[in-house]
């Protein structure tokens, strides 16, 4: 077991700057997700930790050891690749045993470790087969078993579920969580899927354009996004952002006056999760929302429309609760949960003092 420390790591590919001085610490035994859209630098950062890519500047420590100049094989880590990269010419058994064989483990230990990893991932029956005879989900299990069999200090996973179909992904996600929390390995998990990051990680680092936008627990990231980008990237539907004028210490939200947050300029950005907006009761103060589309999503109804001077807004209402008439063009009076307002400045940075 070991912690991972990334110190001012930057990476340029020629003129293109892929990473801009990233600092990040992953505690011993922690599960950290690197979350971001494609091209944000998350895979590059992971590959730098693995040693498959060299950083332009900065250093990487695993435990107290500076591994910056070491090749991957000397870093004492394991990795699960996006395309699994299970060796097609080797049986499942030999794939799982590969790391142990390279480490010259003795026969008995190899057999015991392979058996343990295979049992953990339910691939005991597949050990004599070759990867070509397996389904995508089974290959995925082999790749994870191969990584766990070496009992690595550090486990790196690069979009390990992205090649599976939706149903299998959900199943593997739950299983991965159980398996990895049992192993207690320090893990960095790269994904562009925010539900995966939310579901699996102890902490999430949200990345954009080669920088880390915010690091925090899943609930911090979800409830208290540090930037407009984070709020817009995490959550489905993403957080709503309304640009509103500030006057005499008040913010006008389409007819509803809200107390302006401390540090507000002439205009502020109000971040609001769709589920933190409710129907205003009769005679209650609210803001006007013009409905465009209503979609029933199982237990919830997603309403898409405009508010506060034509700005797009999406709200989520429980399908079982009282619902307004769902006709397009209809006006609905809404009220936000005052405890869940996320105030930001015009540049999209959270204002201090905002909850």
């Amino acid at each position: 077991m070991a912690s991972i420390t990334i110190e001012r790591v930057a990476k340029s590919f020629g003129e293109v700057r892929a990473l801009a001085e990233v600092d990040l610490t992953v505690a011993d035994g922690e599960f950290l997700a690197l979350l971001g859209p494609s091209g944000c630098g998350k895979t590059t950062l992971l590959r730098i930790v693995a040693g498959l890519e060299s950083q332009t500047t900065g250093r990487v420590l695993i435990g107290a050891r500076d591994v910056s100049a070491l090749p991957p094989r000397k870093r004492g880590l394991a990795m699960v690749f996006q395309n699994y990269a299970v060796f097609p010419h080797l049986t499942v058994y030999e794939n799982v045993a590969f790391g142990l064989r390279m480490a010259r483990a003795d026969k008995a230990r190899i057999a015991a470790q392979v058996e343990k990893a295979a049992a953990l991932l339910h691939i005991e029956a597949l050990l004599r087969r070759h990867p070509a005879q397996l389904s995508g989900g089974q290959r995925q299990r082999v790749a994870v078993a191969r990584a766990l069999a070496v009992e690595p200090a550090v486990l790196l996973m690069d979009e390990p579920l992205s090649n599976l179909d939706a149903l299998l992904r959900l199943e593997m996600r739950a299983e991965l969580k159980a398996v990895l929390s049992e192993a207690g390995t320090t893990t960095i998990y790269v994904t562009h899927d925010q539900t995966e990051a939310m579901g699996l990680a102890d902490r999430i680092a949200v990345m954009q354009a080669g920088r880390i936008e915010q690091i925090g627990s899943p609930s911090e990231i979800y409830d208290r996004p540090a930037t407009r980008f984070v709020g817009g990237f995490v959550g489905s539907p993403p957080m709503n952002f309304l640009e509103l004028p500030v006057q005499d210490g008040k913010v006008d939200l389409g007819g509803l006056a809200l107390a302006a947050p401390p540090g507000a300029g002439a205009r502020v950005l109000l971040g609001l999760r769709g589920e933190d907006i409710a129907l205003a009761r009769p005679a209650e103060a609210g803001f006007a929302f013009t409905l465009k589309v209503a979609e029933l999503l199982g237990p919830q109804v997603l309403l898409t429309g405009v508010a506060a001077g034509g700005q797009p807004l999406r709200i989520v209402l429980p399908a079982a609760g009282p619902l307004p008439p769902l006709t397009a063009g209809g006006d609905i009076l809404l009220k936000p949960d005052p405890a869940r307002l996320r105030w930001m400045n015009e540049a999209g940075k959270a204002l201090e003092g905002s909850p």
């Binding site: 693995a50 040693g51 498959l52 090749p71 991957p72 094989r73 880590l77 394991a78 990795m79 690749f81 996006q82 395309n83 990269a85 299970v86 060796f87 097609p88 010419h89 590969f98 790391g99 390279m102 480490a103 087969r129 070759h130 070509a132 005879q133 191969r146 070496v150």
Partner: protein, 282 residues
Amino acid sequence: MREPKALPYLLIAPSALFLTGLFLIPLAQTAVLAFQESGGAWGLGNLRRMTDELNFPDALANTFKVVLLAVPLQLVLALGMTMALRNIRRGRDLLVWVWSIPLGISDLAAGLVWLAILNDQGWLNSALFRLGLIAQPQAWLTYETPAALLAAIVIAEIWRATAIVFVILLAGVQLLPKEYEEAADVFGATPWQRFFRITVPLLKPSIQTALILRTVLAFEMFAMAMALGGRNFPVLVSEAFNAQYFSQDYGVAAAYAVLVMTISVAATVLYLVALRVPAEQR
């Protein structure tokens, strides 16, 4: 538009007819020629006369020596070139181009180039003489220096035909996803272990193709041996040539042709079996 069902067959027909007319029929005729004796009776007389020829043991031995020396060296060299190329960024295309030059040179021309380098008045002799390393020009390509003659032919063959092995292997390596080697690296394999445990096994289909092609062509070696060794270095095909044009013994010439073909087919089958990749391991 719906394609007529006959279209694919029509498109294949010219090549099929071409091969039948100019390959299968002559092949059958050669076989007939080899196994039919002068009276018209079937038998092994031609083969026996071939094996009784004075040069036959040398021709057979020389052919096998060149193949067994040159082909493995070519494979090792081409693998080395392919791997080296992967670690080169700048000038990579230039290097591929330079390494592929021999592909475009006919074997007779290549043989004459090497003759100009290696004969007793050749460039190598002049260079060594001027450097004071030899007192007088040396003759290497004679029957008195069989080892040097063999070495010269093997070196010239390696120069001439490693490129085709290299090109086939390069194509194969470029198709391999780099994740396999990265995974091996992450899981502790040294560069040599990666090469022998991952790259070479995954490259087996390409190695097989290259070896079959190269070995079959090496058994058919003719112009290079003629240019450098002439009568001093008989090989199977040159003996066939001599039987055909000097002795005008068409039966023996055909017997040589059948022998070369049999050896080639045997080598091919050997490679197909030895380097087989079962379907489940692809």
